[in-house]
Symmetry: C2
Subunit: 229 residues, 2 copies
């Protein structure tokens, strides 16, 4: 190997990276539970097992730490926001999107709540992102949805409302985990629950918006079988 084992105690940057991660993780939790103002560096430091000064040494300021967390979450987001084309199968695309979004909300619940908290506070740090990247992304998708509707592959629903519907319903299981657990009376949602929720959401959206598989150009055998029933 060209580099020394990064997890070793003896390697230089190892403990720095470990501390940084500990701080980021602690901060994500505290910020997500109490919002930007309500979070305290003291609590973050305690949760990361470091003195407060050390947190500031690593992160510079509360503000910078917070922005860094937001950016990290946006990056995770971008990773699943792959582009689509009108030639794709609408059923596949929408199903995959719902699935990916649920998975992300569940694999990074604190980050997801952090985002929600930022939005609730009026998105003072995210205005740019909302009106820039994210807006472009939504409009792109919306255009494709409209083409699908024109080709009869789905009902002519407003694509923006559809995107928000998928967004809100998937996000809900991370942001409002407390509520879901409180009401269902469970300790936690297991993988089976998650799979059930995912399937349910996919089914409702697909069926509710009349999303269909595209007609293959040259009818393959399966299509004939399907028309047969």
């Amino acid at each position: 190997m060209a580099k020394a084992d990064p997890t070793s105690e003896h390697e230089a940057g190892a403990i720095r990276r470990r501390n940084e991660q500990a701080i980021l993780q602690a901060a994500e939790d505290v910020f997500s539970r109490h919002g930007y103002r309500g979070a305290s560096l003291q609590e973050i430091a305690r949760q990361a097992g470091l003195p407060k000064s050390n947190v500031l040494y690593y992160m510079g300021s509360k503000r910078k730490l917070y922005v860094r967390l937001l950016e990290r979450m946006m990056a995770r987001w971008n990773a699943i926001l792959d582009s689509i084309s009108p030639e794709d199968d609408p059923v596949e695309v929408i199903s995959a999107f719902i699935r990916a979004k649920i998975r992300l909300s569940r694999s990074h619940p604190a980050g997801s709540r952090l985002f929600a908290s930022e939005i609730l506070g009026g998105a003072p740090f995210l205005q740019e992102y909302l009106q820039g990247e994210l807006r472009d992304w939504v409009e792109n998708r919306a255009a494709v949805f409209r083409q699908w509707a024109e080709r009869g592959l789905m009902d002519p629903v407003d694509p923006v409302w559809l995107i928000f519907l998928i967004w809100s319903s998937t996000q809900h299981y991370a942001d409002f985990e407390t509520q879901v657990l409180g009401i269902t009376g469970r300790e936690a949602l297991d993988d089976d629950d998650l799979e059930g929720i995912t399937r349910f959401l996919i089914q409702v959206v697909i069926k509710g918006c009349g999303v269909k598989h595209p007609e293959p150009a040259k009818t393959p055998p399966e299509a004939i079988q399907a028309a047969d029933r």
Copy 2:
């Protein structure tokens, strides 16, 4: 009139009531934007146009003020959580619920966000409510949904997930108003937008879950007409 005009400057309790309302309104806004910890009595007082001491005189403590706001919101909620019976028309019931929920989220956006913020923070003040009243309500509804499914009036979807779907998607337009506006690029959502969203959500849920009108016992004329087309 038995009592003096409550809005008059000369009536005794009038200004007290007015101050109280000003405080509650200001507090709802500040708490909803910054969460319990992040909110400061100073800012609430300033926004209500009163000295901080006066706020404490009226409300006792930050905690009491916050709890009072939560209770007020729960009361508004209960007002639309009327009970249903398996004999009702599923289409009507679900449509009315979505409509009422959207209306409430829009008429009291700050209160709605306050609730969301409380949940994000782990619902330290609402555990009881979630596991008590609200849970009972959800289970009641779920039981009715199941009966509808058995009678073939809707698909056999998990009723709890359905309720959460309606919940999250309707709540979204209040809680994430900033996001919606930022992405759509609008200044505000007008009544037409709201009506469009409402119709869209109703359509997707009704169609997506295969919700049907019940067969009337003795087919009235309208049913024949409907079957005609």
